[in-house]
């Protein structure tokens, strides 16, 4: 409990934390709203097949995709800022049991990331549906089947990406290295995969953790993709594996 309070003090006492969080939310919601407007305008020209695949919930949640890197970076900084500034040393003197230090960081950050995630998820959902309704395009409501799961899932996906950042930061101890890896994992691999032979591309689209995790904020199923919870579970398992690696390195490597 003490260590959690200490980690909250560390997190909340930095101006950069609040700035990053605010910019993340504002940017995500703005781009999300623009994207919803664009998709609504395109709807009248869409083919019948495209209209069948129209998923107003997912279409309103572009903000999640936009925010994923920013929240991952916030997670990276929770640990790498300690290494960059050297403050990891007084931190470890106060809490020499390193697993507890990491657990407290993860606990505080999970809380923050879930809150930011839900804020972005729900706000962008309501914004998006208002845009769709205004343009006379089919829209979703929270009461429809699977929709609430997708909206809440979008926030959870962001929290998972944030924790992935924290895990990568713990493994690599370097801000630049961890952010580089994060960008590669979330964006580059999937972009490059589309240029691969079809079977490999399909495999990446189905099983690559950030791709499978995205199923949690879709309502309309996609062919060849995992179901929402198994897909998100795969992402969470990978995040947990990275975190476990970070824990082992933190325990065994010199500070």
């Amino acid at each position: 409990m003490n260590i959690l309070r200490s980690e909250w003090t560390k997190f909340a006492s930095l101006r950069s934390t609040w700035l990053t969080a605010t910019v993340t939310v504002v940017l995500a919601l703005s781009v999300g709203a623009l994207s919803a407007t664009g998709q609504a305008r395109g709807y009248p020209d869409a083919s019948a097949a495209e209209r069948t695949a129209w998923d107003p919930t997912a279409a309103s949640l572009t903000a999640i995709t936009v925010a994923q890197l920013a929240i991952g970076v916030l997670g990276v900084l929770v640990i790498t800022a300690e290494y960059a500034t050297g403050s990891i040393q007084p931190s470890l003197l106060a809490v020499p049991r390193r697993g507890r230090l990491l657990a407290a960081k993860a606990g505080v950050f999970t809380l923050v990331a879930v809150l930011i995630g839900q804020l972005i998820g729900f706000t962008s959902f309501f914004l998006g549906q208002a845009v769709f309704a205004g343009q006379g395009v089919p829209y979703a409501t929270l009461g429809q089947p699977e929709v609430a799961r997708a909206v809440i899932g979008g926030g959870l996906y962001l929290a998972a990406l944030g924790l992935l950042g924290l895990g990568l930061g713990t493994v690599l101890r370097s801000t630049a290295g961890a952010i580089g890896t994060l960008v590669t994992v979330t964006l580059l691999v999937r972009a490059v995969a589309q240029a691969l032979p079809e079977r490999m591309a399909a495999w990446v689209n189905k099983y690559w953790p950030t791709a499978s995790g995205e199923r949690i904020f879709s309502v309309v199923p996609t062919d060849g993709a995992l179901a929402p919870w198994p897909g998100f579970g795969l992402l969470c398992a990978c995040v947990a594996a990275v975190g476990a690696g970070g824990y082992l390195l933190l325990r065994t490597k010199d500070a």
Partner: protein, 304 residues
């Protein structure tokens, strides 16, 4: 007071090909300032990191109050350490930096204000640490070390970058802490500084223990005493002193006498009717003694 002793047994640390700490065995006792001396790269900081569990020893053990640092139930209440004054997030205020440490260690919030007052930073407690001068950072680091009121304190090169007033402040603080019965270990590569602050010395070079003694013993054992003499009739005096078994050297136009005390030289000269212009007993400074002792243990020495 075995609950305050720092004890290293066969402590060894290897980084790749470099043997930073080479089978060190020592204890640091309470109630006095122990100076931890060695040239840069001798392994002082590494040893301190091993004591604090930041790095793991390759071999051997080191304990504080009979336990490994990581096993201490209340680490900040047992050991206070300042290793690197700049190891603070520059965006965090001094007060919040200390508050986060206090919370982690279960120390009352009021103690933060107390230690800030103790080091004279209360007026800038809300300022971001990144705006601090090195001297202010050192004070903040010392405030952090004193948070838990620990019976053992360790400072790594605390006077680096301080102005004379700051140096005197730290010196007084360390002596005060020792006088209260605490164990005080302070590292430095400045021998003169240690002569003024420490009562006991641990000297290391290339990771090996070169001396473990009081400051006086250390000087006595490793230093040589000689006397500087000047006289109008210097050649006659030189013959006289040589006959009495002294070894003579010169220092400018003066004689440097080894093997006779100033009193003996004075008596001899008076008996022979030689008027002395100067008679000055000289003892090697701690600096000289240290240089001699560590001459072959300096990692990046300049060959003469």
């Amino acid at each position: 007071m075995s609950d305050t002793i720092i004890e290293a047994v066969g402590l060894t640390k290897r980084y790749g090909d470099t043997l930073a700490v080479d089978v060190l065995t020592f204890t640091v006792q309470p109630g006095r300032v122990t100076g931890f001396l060695g040239p840069n790269g001798a392994g002082k900081s590494t040893t301190m990191r091993l004591v604090l569990g930041l790095d793991a020893p390759t071999a051997g053990t080191v304990t504080v109050a009979g336990q490994r640092y990581a096993d201490l139930a209340r680490p900040l209440h047992t050991v206070g350490a300042l290793l690197d004054a700049r190891a603070v997030h520059p965006g965090r205020s001094a007060a919040n930096h200390l508050l986060a440490l206090a919370q982690a260690a279960g120390i009352a919030r009021t103690r933060v204000d107390e230690v800030l007052g103790l080091v004279g930073l209360e007026s800038i407690a809300g300022r971001r640490a990144g705006t601090f001068s090195l001297g202010m950072s050192q004070r903040l680091g010392i405030a952090a070390a004193l948070l838990g009121g620990p019976p053992v304190v360790m400072f790594d090169e605390p006077v680096n970058g301080l102005d004379p007033e700051g140096i005197r402040w730290i010196r007084t603080l360390m002596r005060g802490l020792a006088a209260e019965g605490r164990t005080v270990l302070v590292s430095s590569h400045l021998m003169g500084e240690m002569a003024l602050t420490a009562q006991h010395l641990l000297v290391i070079g290339r990771g090996r223990l070169l001396a473990d003694s009081t400051v006086d013993e250390f000087l006595h054992r490793h230093g040589t005493e000689n006397v500087l003499v000047r006289a109008g009739e210097q050649d006659g005096l030189a013959r006289l002193l040589r006959r009495s078994g002294a070894h003579l050297g010169t220092d400018g136009d003066a004689l440097l006498v080894q093997g006779l005390t100033a009193t003996e030289i004075g008596k001899l000269a008076a008996a022979d009717g030689i008027a002395l212009a100067e008679l000055t007993p000289r003892r090697d400074s701690l600096e000289d003694v240290f240089m001699t002792l560590t001459a072959d243990a300096v990692e990046f020495g300049v060959s003469a």
